[in-house]
């Protein structure tokens, strides 16, 4: 880290570089975070409280929690299955599957939402059939859940694949040779090996599920009290020039982001080795 003069910079240069980096992070990251809480408390605690307990805000909170409670467990199952398949077995089309896993990350969230409107909207492929059977997906809660699940799909798998590749297959092979069944091997050997990496992926997945805006905005239809998630509620309040209320609701999500970051850092610090290979 420090080393001799030939492999490190002089003291003054190190100081200058650290100062520039910290100044950039302060302006670019810390200030926006501070602005959320400052905006939320601009008119005092009473106004802050009433913006949060107001019925539309509570309905948005309920919907956001419901969506995350469905999307996150689904992606735990999908992520575990995909990484298990990709790292423990060889099959044709494997590299295609790996690139497909990352697809939602490089596509605009608006386009992700559009896909569901095209498939399940009234003018979409399944639209007439769904209408005849009185099933609403787009502009209703199922659409929001589907879009959120799609957008947050990569987070669990991306944490697990590098970790499981690094751990190899020898533990599983040993378990099988000692007579364990496939399911036993998975629950007793694989799962304990990857539990911290899994938790790490779930944290990121959950943060994105509760905060997703673009995809959800396209499929929700913005029906107040019914299909409004917390991020969409923030947009409505903001466009009504109700800035304090918008920032008050935003501060809840910012708080969630802070909890996520703290938990993530604790995991990295405590179990750094067993979530290695992670990162983005």
């Amino acid at each position: 880290m420090t080393g001799s003069a030939s492999t490190s910079e002089p003291r003054w240069l190190r100081f200058v570089l650290i100062t520039i980096a910290l100044a950039f992070l302060a302006v670019n990251l810390a200030l926006p975070l501070a602005a959320v809480f400052a905006g939320a408390l601009a008119k005092g605690l009473a106004v802050y409280r009433s913006a949060i307990v107001e019925p539309d805000a509570r309905a948005a909170m309920r919907l956001t929690l419901t969506v995350a409670a469905i999307a996150v467990p689904l992606n735990i199952v999908f992520g575990l299955t995909a990484s298990w398949a990709v790292t423990k077995f060889d099959f044709p089309g494997k590299s295609l599957l790996i690139s497909l896993i990352d697809l939602p990350l490089s596509v605009s969230p608006v386009v992700s939402g559009l896909i569901y409107v095209l498939l399940f909207g009234l003018q979409g492929w399944a639209g007439p059939w769904l209408r005849d059977h009185d099933i609403r997906i787009v502009f209703a809660v199922p659409g929001i859940v589907l879009a959120t699940t799609f957008v947050t799909f990569p987070f669990v798998a991306r944490e697990l694949i590098p970790l499981m590749l690094e751990q190899g297959r020898s533990d599983e092979e040993a378990a099988r040779s000692l007579g364990a069944s496939g399911w036993q091997t998975f629950v007793r050997v694989t799962l304990p090996n990857i539990r911290w990496g899994l938790l790490y992926g779930v944290l990121l997945c959950n943060a994105r599920a509760m905060g997703e805006f673009g995809a959800v905005s396209v499929v929700s239809g913005h029906i107040r009290g019914l299909t409004n998630t917390l991020p969409l509620h923030i947009e409505i309040l903001y466009n009504e020039y109700n800035y304090v209320a918008a920032f008050a609701v935003a501060s809840l999500l910012a708080g969630l982001a802070l909890v996520t970051l703290v938990a993530k850092s604790l995991l990295e610090w405590r179990f750094g080795d067993s979530i290695a290979g992670g990162g983005h």
Partner: protein
Amino acid sequence: MSAIFIKTAGLGPHAFVAVALSKRALSAYRLSFGAAALAAAINSVFGLLVAWVLVRYDFAGKRVVSALVDLPFALPTAVAGIALTALYAPTGWIGAWLPVKVAFEPLGVVVALTFIGLPFVVRTIEPVLADLGTDVEEAAASLGAGRAQTVVRVVLPAILPALATGFALAFARGVGEYGSVIFIAGNLPYRSEIAPLLIVQQLEQYNYRGATAIAATMLAASFAVLLAINLLQAWDRRKMAA
């Protein structure tokens, strides 16, 4: 995904050009791709610096700083959008001090995309820089290279592929970004309107075909850019192996 291209194919060439290549759409692509490229370039410089400082130097509060880098991953984009708008508005903490208008101008889009893209660059470079170790630098120094020469000729080429990947990830994310941008951009047609917003507007008018045509154009352009960067990296790997 294929639904988008199939739906576009049913549109016919004339209708496609009328929507996807209209003057308004073209200026939106220019803004989305241009601002994303500029923001990714800014993040390449500062992201490299932040990664270097985090890997190579020790200072107080390093763990907090490292956690903070991930904030754009964890903070919902709508929250980032209204916070940046408040900061850079003419009366905001930062906007009040700046000589040029940032919020509600194309420059605002660059600010939002810079916020969103930083962790992609830092988190891609960090592990490569940590793996690199100092032995090659010691070798270069013992052969008589100065410190600046060592960094430019030895360290920089080794992390160039990671830097290009980080740039590509930040760029791809920036082109499609919606939530953080629409609040700060002002969304003036021909001036500060991004391509994803055009898709949303077409959808609000129930013009699904128009929305799909613009989405297909954006997807095609994004794939082309990603392909170009992949080729660039393959070339770089060949150069390293030679």
